[in-house]
Amino acid sequence: MMDGLGPHGGFILAAYLATALILAGLAAAILLDRRAQRRALAALEERGAGRRGGSAP
């Protein structure tokens, strides 16, 4: 594959690899954050924090 990319194949692959890593990291960070917030909200609602006056002591 590197031969087909000519003398600058390393630069081309590095550009694509950097893009893939940055976008994968961004997507992972967003998805993990969303999941963490969902879990935190579910835990709070389970304790009745969303109801007026809260849960029974």
């Binding site: 000519g6 550009a15 954050d33 969303r34 709070l44 924090a49 969303g50």
Partner: protein, 252 residues
Amino acid sequence: MASLIELANPARFMRLSSVLLPWLLGAAALLLAFGFYLIWFVAPADYQQGETIKIMYIHVPAAWLALMFYSMMTLSALGVLVWRHPLADVAQQAAAPIGACFALICLLTGSFWGKPMWGTYWVWDARLTSVLVLFLIYLGVIALRRALDEPSRAGRAVAILTLVGCVNIPIIKFSVDWWSTLHQPASVLRMGGPTIHPSMLWPLLVTALGFTLLALALHLLAMQAEILRRRVRTLTIFEAERLDRLSLQAVR
């Protein structure tokens, strides 16, 4: 206007975005797969750049998206300061890391292209420097948001900084016309139409649309996460106040 504000209700946004997300992600995956097929198997090598033109197919969309997300943040900043709409603040906050990532991709891929073509990874010409400034403004916006605990205060401060920073957007766009730069002038978004041959223009446009849909999907996901975080914060405060009341009653 009233219907727009109603549409921007956080609960309605969560429902609508959940419906939209699978379609956006699916379309982005298909377009990117087709775009990369065109880039790697169909599009010819450039007569001057050779195969390094393949870098252009990710560098240019990344530059467009870095500018697009900052423009979206500027509109959201107006929404925060003029209408004080909470969803505008959520949109602004969610956009900053995504725009920063595309600005970083633009800078890195530009460097990887510059070394074999210009003989250097970096020059302080107007286009490169103004994009670096854009990346630094993105980092400043993210840092300012994290430095202030109270969300509405942070939102207004970030909105003002965003509006100040938007002066850099036309500078980036027109830097290649206003100053003598090593970076080439616009060859797609220009008066008189694109100067790129269709065999290279189409893969670029398909890939750019794919990246745009992916970025919009990530923005919706990040907005959902932010809305959930604000709900968690509110409920945590309610919970703390309730426990406070209970402990006071127990003491009496």
